[in-house]
C-alpha cells in the first residue's frame, strides 16, 4: 500500500543498496565480426576467453556458432549469457522445424533473437550478437544487436574488445569510406571477405590483448555453412 502511494505522489524511499559484492556479469572479452556479400555471408570470432582481467581462461573457447543450415551467430560479452542465448536460439530453431517442417528463414530468426534479448530488458543478457545468414532470395544479410535487442541490418559489423580497431578498417575496405572515386556499391567477393577477416584479426592481435589464439571463420553460401580455422598469436 505504502509503495503504491509513494509511487503516485512521485516519491519513493531512497533505495538502500547493500554492498552486494556479487556482480552477475563478467566481460569475457574477445572480438567478433560479420561481413555481408552478394550471395554469401561471413562471421568470424577469435576463440580466446579472458576472465575480465589479465588472465586467459582458455585459448579455445568458441563464441561463434552454426545455428542452422543457413544461419550463424557470433557473440561477445559475458560467455555464460552468450551460451544461454545461443542454446535458446538453437532450441527455438529446432522447435520451429518440428512445428513447421522446414527451417526458419533468416529474417525470422533475426527477429527471434531480438525478442529473446528484449525479454530480458531489465536483467539483460550481457551479449552483443552478430547474426548472419542468407535471405529467401539467397542474398547475404548481417544483423547486429545491442544487449537488449535493438536490431540493425548492415553490410558489415564488428563487436568486442577490438571492435574499435576493426570497424574503421572494414568501413574503409568494404564501404570504401574516404576513398575518393571508389565504387561504394560493390560488395566484397568471398575471397576478399576471407582475406579481410584474417587481416583484420591478425592486426587486432597486435594491439588488443584480449584477442588472439585462434580464429574461426564461418561462411554461409547456397551450399550451407563452411568453417575455416586459422591460428592467431598466443601472447
Amino acid at each position: 500500500m505504502s509503495s503504491l502511494l509513494s509511487h503516485e505522489i512521485g516519491y519513493s524511499a531512497p533505495i538502500e543498496v547493500h554492498n552486494h559484492g556479487f556482480s552477475p556479469y563478467v566481460n569475457n572479452e574477445g572480438t567478433s565480426l560479420g561481413i555481408c556479400g552478394e550471395d554469401f555471408v561471413l562471421v568470424a570470432s577469435d576463440t580466446r576467453q579472458s576472465n575480465g582481467g589479465y588472465s586467459i581462461n582458455a585459448r579455445r573457447s568458441p563464441k561463434a556458432f552454426e545455428l542452422s543450415n543457413r544461419t550463424v551467430i557470433a557473440t561477445t560479452g559475458c560467455a555464460a549469457d552468450a551460451k544461454q542465448l545461443v542454446e535458446d536460439m538453437e532450441q527455438r530453431a529446432q522447435y520451429y522445424v518440428h512445428k513447421h517442417g522446414r527451417e526458419m528463414s533468416t529474417p525470422a530468426m533475426a527477429q527471434v533473437l531480438s525478442q529473446l534479448l528484449y525479454t530480458r530488458r531489465f536483467f539483460p543478457y550481457y551479449v552483443f550478437p552478430i547474426f548472419a545468414g542468407l535471405d529467401a532470395k539467397g542474398k547475404g544479410a548481417v544483423y547486429n544487436y545491442d544487449a537488449i535487442g535493438n536490431i540493425e541490418c548492415v553490410s558489415h559489423y564488428a563487436y568486442g574488445s577490438a571492435a574499435a580497431l576493426l570497424q574503421p578498417f572494414l568501413d574503409n575496405q568494404i564501404n570504401k569510406a574516404h576513398q575518393r572515386g571508389a565504387d561504394t556499391t560493390a560488395k566484397p567477393s568471398r575471397a576478399q571477405a576471407v582475406k579481410l577477416a584474417i587481416d583484420a584479426f591478425t592486426s587486432a592481435t597486435e594491439r588488443d590483448i584480449y584477442t588472439g589464439d585462434w580464429l574461426e571463420i564461418f561462411i554461409v553460401d547456397s551450399e550451407g555453412v563452411h568453417k575455416l580455422t586459422r591460428e592467431l598469436k598466443h601472447d
Binding site: S2, S3, S12, A13, I15, E16, V17, H18, N19, H20, G21, F22, P24, Y25, V26, N28, Q49, N51, S55, N57, A58, R59, R60, S61, C78, A79, A80, K83, Q84, F123
Partner: protein
C-alpha cells in the same frame, strides 16, 4: 552490563528486505572457503589436486576438508570457494545420481552430462542473484575422450587442457601452460604427479590461504581414484633471500 555482542558473519547480520523498495539480498560473500583447485590432462586421463584447508576469512579454521569427489564412477569434481555451497551441490548431485539409478534404463551419466548439469545449476542460481559461491573443475573420460571443464559462480564455462582456479590461476596456470600445453598425450602418470605436486607446493609457498596437506586424484577410463590426505615436503630456505616489506 551490556549484553555480549555476538558478531556473526555479515551475511547473517543483514536485515531481511522489509518493503519492496529494498532489494532482496542473498549470499554476498563466501564464509568458509577452500582455495585453488589445479587440474590438467595427461596421457591416461586427468590429474587434479586440492588442499585440505577450510579458511574462515583469514583464519585457517578446518584442516581436514575434502574438496575432490567422484560423481558416479567416471567423473571427478574439484571445488574451490564456499564449502557450505559445495555441500549443497554435493547433495543435489547425489539426488540426481539417485534419480538416474532408479531410472534403471541402462544409461549412465557421462562427464559431459554432469558438466552441463552443474553449469546449469550455477547459471540458474546466478540468474536469481543467489549464486553458489564456488568454482568447479569437472574432469572425466567420456566415450574415450578426455574432458576437463570449468564453471564458476556466474556460470562461465570453458574447457581447457590445463585449469587452475582462484590463486592457482595466477600461480599454477603459467607453470601448467609451459609444461603441459601440447604434451597432454605424452605426460606419464609419474610425471603428472610431480607436476601437480610442484604446483601445489608453489601455491603453498605463496598463497596465504593454502595448506601443505592435500588430496590428489586421477580420473582415467578405468574410473576415479582419490588419494587420502597427505603432506608435501617443503623447504623454506629460500625465504632467507626474500627482501622487502621489512624482511
Amino acid at each position: 552490563m551490556d549484553p555480549i555482542e555476538l558478531r556473526l558473519p555479515h551475511t547473517l547480520q543483514r536485515p531481511q528486505a522489509t518493503s519492496n523498495h529494498e532489494p532482496i539480498t542473498h549470499s554476498t560473500e563466501p564464509i568458509v572457503t577452500g582455495t585453488s583447485v589445479v587440474a590438467f590432462k595427461y596421457k591416461d586421463g586427468i590429474m587434479m589436486a586440492a588442499d585440505c584447508l577450510g579458511s574462515y576469512g583469514r583464519m585457517a579454521m578446518f584442516r581436514n576438508e575434502r574438496r575432490l569427489m567422484a560423481v558416479g564412477k567416471t567423473t571427478l569434481l574439484g571445488m574451490s570457494g564456499d564449502i557450505s555451497d559445495y555441500q549443497h551441490m554435493q547433495h543435489t548431485l547425489e539426488n540426481i545420481m539417485t534419480q538416474e539409478y532408479d531410472m534403471d534404463d541402462g544409461q549412465r551419466l557421462g562427464t559431459k552430462s554432469i558438466y552441463k548439469c552443474i553449469s546449469k545449476i550455477m547459471y540458474n542460481r546466478r540468474s536469481k542473484m543467489n549464486p553458489l559461491w564456488n568454482s568447479y573443475v569437472i574432469a572425466g573420460v567420456d566415450s574415450g575422450e578426455k574432458v576437463l571443464g570449468y564453471v564458476d559462480l556466474i556460470g562461465t564455462t570453458y574447457e581447457s587442457p590445463t585449469i587452475a582456479t582462484g590463486y592457482g590461476s595466477h600461480m599454477a596456470q603459467p607453470i601448467l601452460r609451459k609444461v603441459v600445453e601440447g604434451r597432454e598425450d605424452e605426460i606419464t602418470e609419474e610425471e603428472a604427479v610431480k607436476i601437480i605436486e610442484d604446483c601445489m607446493r608453489v601455491l603453498y609457498y605463496r598463497d596465504a590461504r593454502a595448506f601443505n596437506k592435500l588430496t590428489r586424484a586421477k580420473v582415467t577410463a578405468q574410473g576415479v581414484e582419490i588419494t587420502e590426505p597427505y603432506s608435501l615436503e617443503t623447504n623454506w630456505d629460500f625465504a632467507e633471500s626474500i627482501v622487502g616489506y621489512g624482511a
